[in-house]
């Protein structure tokens, strides 16, 4: 540890602390403003009098949001999506990564399989063909359209595979000699030893599902099926009151500025809840993606 007590060094330190504090506050200021608006009375909010502290403090806007059948339905669709989509992702990531983590001697054809997945990651068929495929499979307006197309996140498979490769081979070899099958080796050796990596990928998959909205926009032609972020778009971005399947009066009510703020905050809260866990894990998650010899 260096103790540099020169005047310049002390000046540098103070400048650094002030600059970083200012920058960090600037990052959160917009969110703080919306939070203040969402907790304010509707008149001061609409009139633009609220800055970073609520005026006429009230929870009415949140009551209004949680009392709206349209909003609650979209919220529940999102919850269903996160639960089913994330589980599907994790099961498929583990099942796909395990064979790919073997050497071509243990898993013949590994080289072909790995290129099959890598090429699928690098070349994108594009939006229109993907949409036409989902439609031709009859998935429009089903939960399947939101969770099946990205059921195998290939980059996560590669991260998981690299993690599996670091599991000491001796454990596996002795288990196999004792007659254990690959199912048992995966379940009793690999999964318990990879829990931090699995936790990281689970959190990231869940955040992605919660935040996704574009697929909902194109695959849900009946707007009553919108997941929450997609529904939020019609309220806070589009102001489109002619949506099919949504009660226009309900939408009109939800478009009030303070209530819009409340909806933005409600969409943010689940992220804030998992955020401490995310932060604990994502450093190790990033390490997973680092250099492989």
């Amino acid at each position: 540890m260096i103790r540099d007590k020169s005047a310049f060094s002390l000046f540098f330190d103070s400048f650094n602390y002030v600059f970083l504090t200012g920058f960090a506050i600037l990052c959160l200021l917009p969110l703080a403003h919306i939070l203040a608006v969402s907790l304010s009375g509707r008149a001061p909010a609409t009139g633009g009098f609220v800055s970073f502290w609520p005026i006429d403090f009230t929870l009415e806007n949140y009551e209004e949001v949680m009392g709206s059948p349209t909003f609650v339905r979209s919220f529940l669709i999102s919850v269903a999506r996160v639960l089913s989509g994330t589980s599907l992702n994790i099961v498929l990531i583990i099942l796909t990564a395990y064979p790919l983590s073997k050497t071509p001697r243990v898993f013949k054809g590994r080289t072909i399989f790995i290129w099959f997945f890598v090429f699928a990651m690098l070349f994108d068929g594009g939006l229109i063909p993907s949409f036409l495929v989902v439609r031709s499979l009859g998935l429009l307006n089903t939960l399947g359209s939101l969770i099946l197309p990205n059921a195998v996140p290939i980059f996560s498979v590669i991260l998981m595979m690299n993690f599996f490769r670091d599991v000491p081979k001796e454990l596996e070899e002795s288990a196999l000699i004792d007659g254990a099958s690959h199912w048992k080796v995966l379940w009793y050796i690999y999964i318990p030893l990879s829990l931090p990596a699995i936790a990281t990928l689970t959190l990231f998959a869940a955040v992605n599902h919660w935040n996704a909205w574009f697929d909902g926009l194109i695959y849900m032609t009946d707007n009553a099926n919108y997941p929450m972020q997609t529904f939020l778009r019609t309220v806070v971005v589009e102001y489109d009151l002619t949506n099919v399947g949504i009660d226009p009066r309900d939408l009109q009510r939800l478009s009030d500025r303070a209530i819009r703020g409340a909806q933005i905050i409600v969409a943010t809260v689940p992220i804030l809840v998992v955020y401490p866990f995310l932060q604990r894990y994502f450093i190790s998650g990033i390490k997973l993606g680092a250099v492989k010899e």
């Binding site: 796909t96 068929g125 993907s130 574009f214 969409a267």
Partner: protein, 299 residues
């Protein structure tokens, strides 16, 4: 080893990989086959297999459109500006964070600046549309300084700048992670030795810290090449409006409007294929460069 004996042990591996292959075939490879619509007069009733072939007609039409140069230019300008700003900002922030020795302070700052990365463009877009509106808090603040209200999202003078800066807001904090990891790998003995030899703060940053993260900078510069056509589809779709198509319409938003709003599948498919092919070569090139100059491999 005889085949039968091999399979006795290895068959579960093949069972495990089947579901992944089925999903990827269906939702990645089948759409790749679907790019044939770019060479067809596609109609949904006839499908990929039976729509009439028309050769390069869609591409000839596409290249003759005045919008084509515009969306291609906008995409490049926005994407490249974002990459450059984000990387430079991340390097500076990471070095400053690294210089702040107080561990709790550092953690708090990191917690605050990473957060926007985890919020969707609907949430961030909803916030931006509110604070950047004519009556929004930013224009109110500017009024205090006697500045007229600005249309940050509705005017062609501002739109790109707003997109680039709000992209910076979302991504820069998280981009510091890779650099911070590289910084912790620098041996502190180097800093101590330099300090004993009388090197000040700036000299140590310049001669020890920066060279220490040079491989990481090279690596990310190489990898970012794969992103020069990724201007931020979800962000722009959330923030733009017809008034700013001239400066803000990008390839992806164009494909979305032409293909899914106007249902001109073949034309949109041609634009999409054009982007996919260039994007594919850029990614392959970026991975090759990353391997060549920074020894980075994903496999």
């Amino acid at each position: 080893m005889p085949f039968k004996q091999y399979m006795k042990r290895a068959w579960p591996l093949y069972v495990m990989i089947v579901p992944g292959i089925v999903f990827v075939l269906l939702f990645r490879y089948y759409p790749m086959y679907g790019v044939v619509i770019a060479f067809q007069d596609f109609s949904p009733a006839k499908g990929f297999a039976n729509s009439p072939w028309i050769g390069w007609e869609n591409f000839e039409f596409l290249f003759s459109l005045p919008e084509f140069g515009r969306i291609f230019g906008n995409t490049l300008i926005i994407a490249v500006s974002k990459i450059v700003l984000d990387q430079i900002g991340a390097i500076i922030l990471a070095i400053l964070l690294n210089e702040a020795r107080h561990i709790l302070f550092r953690r708090s700052i990191q917690t605050m600046i990473y957060l926007p990365h985890f919020l969707s463009w609907i949430v961030l877009g909803g916030i931006l549309l509110d604070i950047l509106s004519v009556g929004g808090i930013l224009n109110q603040a500017l009024k205090q300084f006697g500045i007229q209200p600005q249309l940050f999202l509705g005017s062609n003078d501002w739109f790109r700048g707003t997109v680039i800066m709000s992209g910076f807001w979302k991504s820069v904090g998280f981009s510091t992670i890779v650099y911070l990891a590289a910084l912790t790998a620098i041996n502190p003995v180097l800093h101590e030795a330099a300090a004993i030899d009388g090197a000040g703060r700036f000299r140590r940053i310049w001669h020890i810290t920066l060279p220490g993260i040079r491989p990481t900078i090279v690596l990310l510069a190489a990898l970012s090449l794969g992103d020069v056509l990724q201007a931020g589809f979800e962000q722009i779709l959330t923030l733009y409006s017809p008034a700013v198509y001239r400066t803000g319409d990008i390839i992806d938003t164009y494909v979305y409007r032409v293909g899914l709003i106007s249902a001109q599948y073949s034309l949109a498919g041609a634009v999409g294929l054009f982007k996919s092919i260039i994007g594919f070569f850029l990614i392959v090139l970026s991975y090759w460069l990353a391997d060549r100059f920074a020894g980075y491999r994903i496999l």
